[in-house]
Amino acid sequence: MLNFIARRIFQSIFVMLAVGFIAFAMFRYVGDPINNLVGQDTTIAQREELKKQLGLDDPFLVQYVRFINKAAHGDFGSSYRQRRPVSELIASRMPATLELSFVSALIALFLGIPMGIYTALKRRGLLSHTFMTVSLIGISLPTFLIGILMILVFGVLLRWLPSFGRGDVVQLGWWSTGFLTKSGWLSLIMPAFTLALFQMTLIMRLVRAEMLEVMQTDFIKFARARGLPERMINFRHALKNTLVPVITITGLQLGSIIAFSIITETVFQWPGMGLLFIQSIGSVDIPVMAAYLLLIAFFFVIINLIVDLLYFAVDPRLRVQRN
């Protein structure tokens, strides 16, 4: 067991280093940060001086090692664009992304699972067909288009919801929350639905497929034969067996909700980490980009690690194999 965990943690560190390496290798092709840091009146000599100060004229490997070394000590440097420590910057943006992702995941779960069950049980119903069609749209339309359509309908035409931003936030220590104000909740609705749509569709289709499969199995047939009420068969026996893979997928998808929020955040000017990343690309803010990519990699690595450990705990066959 310990051996397994140690090996997984070692692998995780390797993944992080690789992500950092690839990211750093790519930054050389993003453009010239210096030009975004100075005005047109800054002389060549001053530009060169700045480049030297920031260590941008060092070879790529030297820059990479320096970055990793500092990052290991929790120092991600300073944002070129905002001239503030990156760790402080990301910490101030993280609550927005996490709240949005969390609400999106909840929406996806609490709408996706019932819709999946319903479409599996009432396969030929009109409502089922509607759900399936909507889910097809949810999967095939790009996120930014859905977002812009929502802004157009609910923000511009109906004027029910604010078309951008996070509304008023309340500061709880270092965490800023939009959950405690009305404008915070109103602002959350559109981006959360936009971000949830794809996941919701995924969960719905997964639940439906699993449920249909389980309904075919022998033990459901026997349950029927025993004369158990339909309700009990559906929810006690079938659903329970359906949920195992759903939980796994949902766990894994949480990482991608956080990572994919980039587009939703940009469309709705949601002040989270994804928007920060996009703004940083625009001005070649390498310290912020590097830190963000590492952080996302870290999220994925941690989630995967937890999932793996859960498997290990749940499935006895894995333990036997190791021995």
């Binding site: 993003v30 453009g31 100075v38 001239r83 402080e88 078309s163 996009i278």
Partner: protein
């Protein structure tokens, strides 16, 4: 008993609150404003960039500034004189207060000048315009310049004055450095003399400003009392926020949205020409072009080829088809709002396709040639489309353009001097930071000289020693009439040399809620002093 007492207290409190509210003679007017990005810092010396400086101009002020027509007007200096070619004397305004209540004096001017020369400053170029700044008395400073400088007040229109005592108290006597580390106090706080004070700053999210009651100029037209600024990155979201009424002013709106916005009853589009000249440059420096099928020679060194390029392009058509008629076609590198502009050299060249073909044949390219053109696609108004139009016009005379349009960070990383000017042809826009023609002559027209930083943005390496000699005279001529004559001479020579292909002044593009009066200043700065809300 207890209850009635409570009631009594409440009644008194309510009356007090009501009267306090009534005693405010000015009704609260909150301006909601959005731009595509945020200002980079509150520190006025950290970045020399127009949007950042324009925004900072609401809470910081300079000795001399611009009015809504980009005319130079007194601000913190009431008047100035130039008794000797290398000496300027500024007479400072009395009774001016900083936002923290401390008085403004000559010491603050000297301190700010010194601060502009500290390592983190991006305003070193402006600071270097003075050799020394001396205090004569509390309200008079004497500036000595390294050489004769006829336009010092103009050069310093963005050298903001900070409070010395405030900076010392908060240990921010040096400009915020890019390298950072610990945050500099001035990066997140301000203490200027301007009409508004920053009350809350969340970078990239929201900045809230409040009217400064102690502002010296009581005759300012604006009736705005509060400002909420929010950057909105996505163009469509920005436009939506304007139409939905959440925003009063948004900058910029996409040109293709103009017809749609004009149909909205509550919105109008402002699209005056900007002071930025857009032009195309050619590599006239290398003996062989880097990106062309012509080998062994550089066609752009031949004046006939350059004239052919200029004659082939009809900038009126580009204006009509791509800029919706809002650009101002131009025949030179400076816009009409720039000090020194003259119609005699500023009118567009007359297009002549037949002549262009003939000239190319004479120069030895009867079938034309191929060349790559670099173009940004997110820097100027419709930049990529403008490049495509130029390419198709050049194709008519046989010059085949291989268009390389890319994002500005990549584009500038390829074409700028520090990257080795890896370009054969490029599109660039230029607003002289001093709003004076001299700046364009030095940066765009002068032969490249690494020692003096002249020609730093002369990406094609155009070089005419005769123009350089005139530019040197412009730099030191303090007689404004003679000076303007020299500027005219230099630009006329450039025009006859077909050194550049000038295109137009691009239009600015602001979306404004109906009923709001706002002056659209030609440097694309929102001049808050002139915003009047209904």
């Amino acid at each position: 008993m207890k209850f009635s007492k409570l009631f009594q207290h409440t009644a008194i409190a309510a009356t007090l609150a009501l009267s306090a509210g009534l005693s405010h003679s000015v009704e609260a007017k909150t301006l909601h404003w959005a731009y595509q990005g945020d200002m980079m810092s509150l520190d006025p010396m950290s970045l020399n960039e127009t949007f950042t400086l324009g925004f900072q101009g609401w809470f910081y002020e300079t000795l001399a500034g611009y009015d809504k027509n980009l005319k130079l007007v007194p601000m913190l200096a009431e008047k100035w004189e130039n008794p000797e070619p290398t000496k300027w004397i500024f007479h400072l305004r009395k009774g001016v207060k900083f936002h923290d209540g401390s008085p403004f004096t000559a010491d603050d001017v000297i301190f700010s000048w010194k601060r502009s020369l500290t390592p983190g400053s991006d305003m070193k170029g402006y600071g270097a315009k003075a050799k020394d700044v001396k205090k004569i008395d509390d309200y008079t400073v004497e500036v000595t310049t390294p050489g004769p400088n006829p336009i010092l007040p103009r050069d310093w229109t963005f050298l903001y004055i900070m409070s010395k005592t405030w900076a010392e108290k908060n240990k921010t006597t040096e400009a915020t450095n890019v390298k950072g580390g610990e945050s500099n106090y001035a990066n997140m706080h301000e203490d200027g003399t301007g009409p508004f004070m920053v009350v809350d700053r969340q970078p990239d999210v929201k900045t809230t400003l409040k009217r400064f009651d102690g502002y010296w100029n009581k005759n300012m037209p604006t009736n705005v009392t509060d400002i909420v600024f929010q950057p909105i990155t996505q163009e469509s979201t920005r436009v939506a926020a304007l139409i939905s009424g959440e925003m009063d002013i948004v900058q910029p709106v996409p040109v293709q949205d103009w017809p749609r916005l004009q149909k909205e009853p509550n919105v109008r589009v402002l699209n005056e020409p900007e002071a930025r000249a857009i032009f195309i440059g050619m590599d006239q420096h290398r003996d062989e072009l880097l990106f062309s099928n012509v080998k062994g020679k550089n066609p752009f060194k031949d004046i006939r080829v350059r004239e052919a390029v200029v004659r082939a392009v009809d900038t009126n058509v580009i204006n009509k088809k791509i800029m919706r008629g809002a650009a101002k076609p131009l025949g030179t590198l400076i816009a009409d709002k720039i000090n020194g502009y003259d119609e005699s050299f500023g009118k567009p060249y007359k297009p002549d396709v037949a002549k262009a073909k003939k000239l190319l044949a004479e120069a030895g390219y009867p079938n034309g040639f191929e060349v790559q053109m670099d173009c940004p696609n997110d820097r100027y108004v419709n930049d990529e489309k403008v490049c495509q139009a130029v390419a198709s016009m050049l194709a008519r005379v046989g010059i085949k353009i291989d268009l390389l349009a890319q994002t500005k960070s990549k584009y500038f990383a390829k074409v700028l001097l520090q990257a080795g000017n890896n370009t054969s042809m490029y599109l660039l826009g230029w607003t002289p930071s001093s709003i004076d023609a001299d700046n364009s002559l030095v940066n765009l027209v002068s032969c490249r000289n690494p020692k003096t930083a002249a020609g730093q943005f002369n990406l094609g390496g155009y070089c005419n020693p005769k123009i350089d000699a005139i530019t040197a005279k412009v730099e030191s001529e303090t007689d404004q009439v003679k000076r303007n004559a020299l500027i005219k001479e230099a630009f006329t020579m450039l025009r006859n040399d077909y050194g550049y292909l000038p295109l137009h002044q691009q239009p600015m593009s602001w979306g404004v809620r109906k009923g709001i009066k706002v002056a659209q200043r030609a440097d694309d700065v929102l001049d808050i002093r002139n915003v009047v809300m209904p």
